[in-house]
């Protein structure tokens, strides 16, 4: 009997079916890649700030502890951005006439706060608490990276939920002793999994069955 379809239909069918599957896979992969990219997450993008504050100088160079400025990190959910008067504690005398620091002096003079651009942020529906993480042995650099090596401040980690879950599913891979939480460049003395398991027992870290409950972060 006569062929209904032209012979080229074979090629076209194969092309469209496999091509369709290929396109779907590629688009999905591309999308998944794009939303994890620095463009979307802001990872390693140093944002323009009113004053080009250098953590590298203040932490590695001078040796100021994180908590001098980020005062409330052990007490409440919010780590705390230093008030202008904290900066001016030193900069009344040090670099007191520097033009770079004029915005800081102006802020104190005019009683108008400095408006920093937020570098580390999570979505509004995430209720993150710093103090409990500090208490349970999560180091600053675990989430914020080597801040002491940042001449300008950028986000070191994507802070996506899948990344948070990595630790919430197996905290022993990321914990460190409480005394070392504020240390930059800490390395475990014994292999991390073993140390982590000890710390989980010692600090009474909740099991993953509890840490991965939705209401821990979302309410």
């Amino acid at each position: 009997m006569a062929q209904i379809f032209h012979r080229s239909t074979n090629a076209i069918s194969r092309l469209t079916i496999f091509g369709g599957i290929f396109v779907v896979v590629v688009v999905t992969a591309a999308w998944a890649g794009i939303i994890r990219s620095a463009y979307v997450t802001g990872q390693e993008v140093a944002r323009e700030q009113p004053v080009p504050f250098s953590h590298q100088h203040h932490v590695a160079g001078i040796g100021i502890d994180c908590r001098y400025c980020h005062t409330t990190v052990e007490q409440i959910s919010f780590a705390g951005i230093p008030a202008t008067e904290v900066c001016m504690n030193c900069h009344k005398q040090v670099w007191a006439d520097s033009p770079t620091l004029e915005p800081v002096r102006a802020s104190l003079r005019e009683n108008r706060p400095l408006e920093w651009i937020r570098v580390n942020n999570v979505a509004d529906f995430v209720y993150f608490d710093h103090s409990i993480h500090i208490h349970q042995g999560v180091g600053c650099e675990t989430c914020h990276g080597r801040v002491d090596q940042m001449p300008l401040t950028w986000r070191a980690e994507a802070l996506r939920m899948e990344w948070c879950l990595n630790c919430h599913r197996s905290p022993e891979n990321y914990l460190r002793p409480r005394e070392e939480v504020f240390t930059m460049g800490w390395q475990p003395s014994i292999p991390q999994p073993e140390l982590g398991r000890q710390l989980v027992r010692q600090y009474g870290i909740d099991p993953p069955a509890k840490l991965t409950n939705c209401s821990i972060c979302h309410r």
Partner: protein
């Protein structure tokens, strides 16, 4: 099929354009979020930790007396009101009005600036005008100068007014509130020859007879009385500790709902009953009165007879005598000096003012607080007489009906923004301290009177402090002041009992009761959620379903089914009520248990100048309320208008039928078979289910609600709304059943042997171990936590609403529209930052205050300890005056909630569906009189 033309889009082009748009729209998910700013302080305030709330004690004046509160403050703004455990009028709990007053602070319709004849002006301009007028009055000692205030119960304010009267001896000070205590004042005057205030010891009373007294709802001391009364309602099996409550009233109130025996009697006929009890002459009275009298006689010295504020003074005097004869004085009933600074019979006081205004003898009138143009008795014709006064000033929170008829309007500072003091019903003085800097250019009453005394620039704080410095002589003032402000209540400031007895033995003549026949009486009652009208613009209270009737956004003419039938009217028919040539139109609402030939009207609606929320709802009952009959108006005529009016309720089916939702028994039945509640409808045994038992880690949260204690006051509903940013939806949406309250009080009626039984059941998410809602969510937006909570993750919810469909308790609420208020700038201050504000398309429900649980868990972990019992208090639990709700850890067998659940009368609602609810109920117990129960 579709013709291809140059101008029109054909089908293929349309589809390809749509596909392209959809793709592009999806790409918006690929761009990075815009950078946010993070703004620190310039100088950090001391002790302030952003995100950690601070709690301050303050007080609120409501219905003439003060209540102590503790207010939660986040970064310098109040976001939640709790009771003050150190304050005797609060005992740690609040009522619906105190909870909702927070919304009033942030109300955008509040008056924000001084106005003169409606035009914006300034405080300084007002002072100039005031000084001009007062300088003229100085010479004639203030003749023609009048001040009208609401009830003054503040020592500082009383001082200022005394100073004012000393400076202007010919001036007069009047007090008026529409819901006042004239009747009990008059009753005290008749019985004792002087004013006294009465207090009751409900904890010592085995028997209570209420004659139209709604002592659980709005009478002075109602929060403390609710606590003490309900303490005696919670029973252990076998121990005969329950009290017994008889209520004689016309419309059902929450006190009547708690009664073991409720007798519906027309309010105007209660006087005859009181007379019969006082003279012990029961002939011609219903037989139940004899049984009640007998019961009272058997409980000498351990009973309370209490008359409601709505009963005439003669009834109060009779009740004083009855209590005396029963030996209750100095045991369960005692008297004190009047707590008010200058008690007067307020209707008379206002009447004198109106007479003088009519006669043209008032030149300058300052109305400080209150809304007399709206709420004064209709026969006073206040508005008309007011227009005769050459200079009128008004101070209030809103630019209301009175403000629009006065020359000057000064916006009042809200109590959450001001310093002050107030006395509670028992005399305890407490301080008012501000939680936030005044939002607008407002002034307190203290500052206005201070200005009238010639000190316009003295601040609120200085006025109050210097007043206390004068009062508290000697010893260390600073430590006294700090302690009083910190604690909220001044120690040992309660009024001492007086040793006093009622005077003459012969009872005063009772005005003839309304002849039984066909006459209708009209009863005026403060509205259960709007009170006297002052809360009309409060959306939380407008949408709060009123107890018993469940009406929202409106009020109706309540009547019994028989009365409605007699009038030929059905529910929602608009009728015109006429009292002494004044008329008002109201919609009919049939309430079971209402006395026949009696119609209840609520005060507080029908306003036209309350704000955008309150205008145009309901009818104005003040239009027919006269000074001679402020509570009970006899001989009303009713005419049907033929029109209908939409009334909206949140519950219209009140029968239990054969369902075992509310389980109840008498105290005797409970003693005989303690496990009656479970036996009525036993849940499936653990082995009967395929589902494994739930296992929790560290904590197992659960809640127990005692139905014997719940009085249906709605404080928990508003507390939950305030704590969890629950939105208000408006009348149209409530008509569609879309009200968003996470917690509702279901009311059921059952005809008992001798009277109507009313049951209140607070219904909230039961946090079922086998939650039907969790199984059906396609995106797992609702899950079960390891501590037993049924979690709700708003950001994951796509709005299928399958969970609500599957919930047998119907406690899940859906945001059909973006109900949350995003456009009002003040509400950004109002919302609790610990709880997400939900937009449209997401489901929400009670979370057991998960934000409080999380905060407590984190705090406990940081201190390396476990969460203590009582550390987590859910919003509903904290507000409840009756302590009906208990929340805690079920893994701890010593916790209060475990003990409650161990009681034999514990049961789960709809537990037979194998949901295994974590919220269980303690069955309601009643203590009826066996003799009355037998009679039909």
């Amino acid at each position: 099929m579709f013709p291809k033309s140059d101008n029109e889009l054909n089908r293929r082009e349309f589809l390809s354009v749509m596909a392209a748009s959809m793709t592009m729209a999806g790409l918006t998910g690929c761009v990075s979020a815009p950078p946010e700013k993070i703004v620190p302080y310039v100088r950090t305030p001391e002790d302030l930790l952003p995100g950690k709330p601070m709690f301050f004690a303050t007080s609120m004046q409501a219905s003439g007396y003060g209540v102590g509160l503790i207010v939660e403050s986040h970064e310098g703004r109040p976001i939640k009101i709790e009771g003050n455990p150190d304050h005797p009028a609060s005992l740690g709990s609040t009522d619906a009005f105190a909870q909702a007053s927070l919304l009033g602070l942030y109300d955008p319709d509040r008056a924000q600036i001084v106005t003169q004849s409606g035009r914006i002006s300034t405080w300084d301009a007002f002072i100039t005008a005031l000084e001009d007028s007062l300088s003229g009055l100085q010479s004639n000692r203030g003749d023609g100068l009048r001040i009208l205030t609401e009830t003054v119960i503040s020592p500082t304010l009383a001082d200022l007014l005394q100073q004012f009267l000393a400076k202007y001896p010919a001036a007069k000070w009047h007090q008026y509130e529409p819901v006042n205590h004239d009747n009990s004042r008059g009753g005290a005057r008749l019985a004792f020859g002087r004013y006294v205030d009465t207090q009751y010891r409900f904890e010592d009373a085995d028997l209570i007879l209420s004659l139209d007294s709604d002592f659980l709802s709005w009478q002075p001391g109602h929060l403390a009385y609710a606590r003490k009364f309900t303490q005696r309602r919670k029973a252990a099996p076998g121990k005969k500790t329950m009290n017994r409550l008889y209520v004689v009233e016309s419309a059902i109130t929450i006190t009547g709902a708690m009664a073991d025996h409720r007798f519906p009697v027309r309010s105007s006929e209660i006087a005859a009953l009181a007379n019969a009890l006082a003279t012990q002459n029961l002939s011609g009275q219903p037989s139940w009165l004899g049984t009640v009298a007998q019961d009272l006689a058997e409980h000498r010295g351990r009973s309370i007879v209490i008359a409601g504020e709505t009963q005439p003074p003669e009834v109060h005097a009779l009740v004083h005598r009855i209590n005396d004869r029963l030996g209750n004085l100095d045991k369960t009933v005692f008297f004190t000096e009047p707590i008010e600074s200058s008690p007067v019979e307020q209707t008379q006081s206002l009447g004198e003012l109106v007479q003088e205004m009519a006669a043209g003898r008032v030149d300058t009138l300052a109305i400080l607080g209150g809304n007399p143009v709206y709420s004064a008795p209709a026969d006073f014709e206040f508005a008309q007489n007011l227009s005769r006064v050459p200079l009128r000033m008004h101070q209030s929170l809103y630019f209301d009906e009175t403000a629009e008829r006065c020359h000057w309007h000064i916006p009042e500072t809200h109590y959450l923004e001001s310093w002050g003091d107030v006395r509670a019903w028992d005399g305890t003085t407490s301080m008012i301290q501000p939680l936030i800097v005044p939002l607008y250019q407002t002034r307190t009453v203290y500052e206005v009177i201070s200005a009238m005394l010639g000190n316009p620039s003295q601040s609120n704080y200085e006025i109050v402090r210097s007043s206390w410095q004068k009062r508290h002589k000697g010893q260390d003032f600073e430590s006294f002041w700090t302690e009083a402000v910190r604690r909220g209540a001044v120690r040992d400031s309660q009024a001492m009992p007086l040793s006093i007895k009622p005077q003459t033995q012969s009872p005063p003549p009772i005005s003839d009761p309304v002849q039984s026949g066909q006459e209708l009486e009209i009863l005026f009652r403060p509205d259960p959620t709007i009170f006297d009208g002052r809360w009309a613009n409060n959306a939380w209270l407008q949408e709060l379903p009123k107890p018993i009737t469940h009406l929202t956004w409106d009020t109706a003419a309540l009547m019994s089914a028989a009365t409605a039938e007699r009038l030929g009217a059905r529910g929602s028919d608009l009728i015109e009520i006429k009292c002494q040539d004044r008329t008002v139109k109201a919609a009919v609402f049939v309430v079971p248990g209402h006395a026949d030939r009696s119609i209840t009207l609520s005060l507080g609606y029908g306003r036209h100048r309350s704000g955008r929320v309150g205008d145009g709802h309901g009818y104005n009952a003040y239009a027919i309320r006269t000074s001679s009959a402020p509570w009970i108006a006899p001989n009303a005529q009713v005419r049907k208008t033929g029109e209908r009016y939409d009334l909206v309720t949140t519950q219209d089916h009140h029968e239990l039928d054969h369902r075992h939702i509310v389980r109840h028994a008498t105290e005797d039945e409970y003693a005989r078979s303690p496990a009656f509640a479970e036996e009525e409808e036993p849940p499936p045994k653990p082995g009967e289910s395929l589902y494994p038992p739930s296992e929790n880690i560290d904590y197992s949260w659960g809640m127990a609600i005692d139905l014997s204690a719940c009085i249906g006051c709605n404080a928990c509903v508003v507390a939950c709304q305030a704590e969890n940013n629950v939105p208000v939806v408006g009348k149209d949406q409530v008509a569609n059943g879309r009200e968003m309250h996470w917690l509702r009080i279901d009311t059921y009626f059952q005809q008992g042997p001798s009277s109507l039984d009313v049951y209140f059941e607070p219904m909230l998410c039961q946090h079922c171990e086998n939650a039907p809602c969790e199984l059906v969510c396609p995106v797992e937006a609702t899950s079960h936590s390891a501590e037993g909570l049924n979690e709700m993750t708003y950001n994951r919810c796509v709005g299928t609403r399958y969970c609500s469909n599957n919930c047998p308790y119907k406690v899940r609420r859906f945001n059909f529209f973006p109900y949350a208020e995003w456009s009002v700038p003040q509400f950004k201050l109002l919302y609790n930052p610990d709880v997400t504000v939900r937009s449209r398309g997401v489901m929400e429900k009670c979370t057991y205050c998960v934000q409080r649980i999380n905060r407590a868990r984190i705090d406990a972990k940081k201190e390396d300890r476990k969460i203590r019992d009582g550390e987590i208090v859910t919003a509903c639990q904290g507000a409840c005056p009756a302590e009906a709700i208990t929340f805690g850890n079920l893994k701890d067998s010593a916790s209060s909630v475990s003990k409650r659940k161990a009681e034999p009368r514990n049961y789960g609602v709809l537990a037979e569906l194998n949901t295994r609810p974590r919220t269980t109920y303690l069955a309601k117990l009643t203590n009826p009189n066996p003799e009355l129960a037998e009679k039909k």
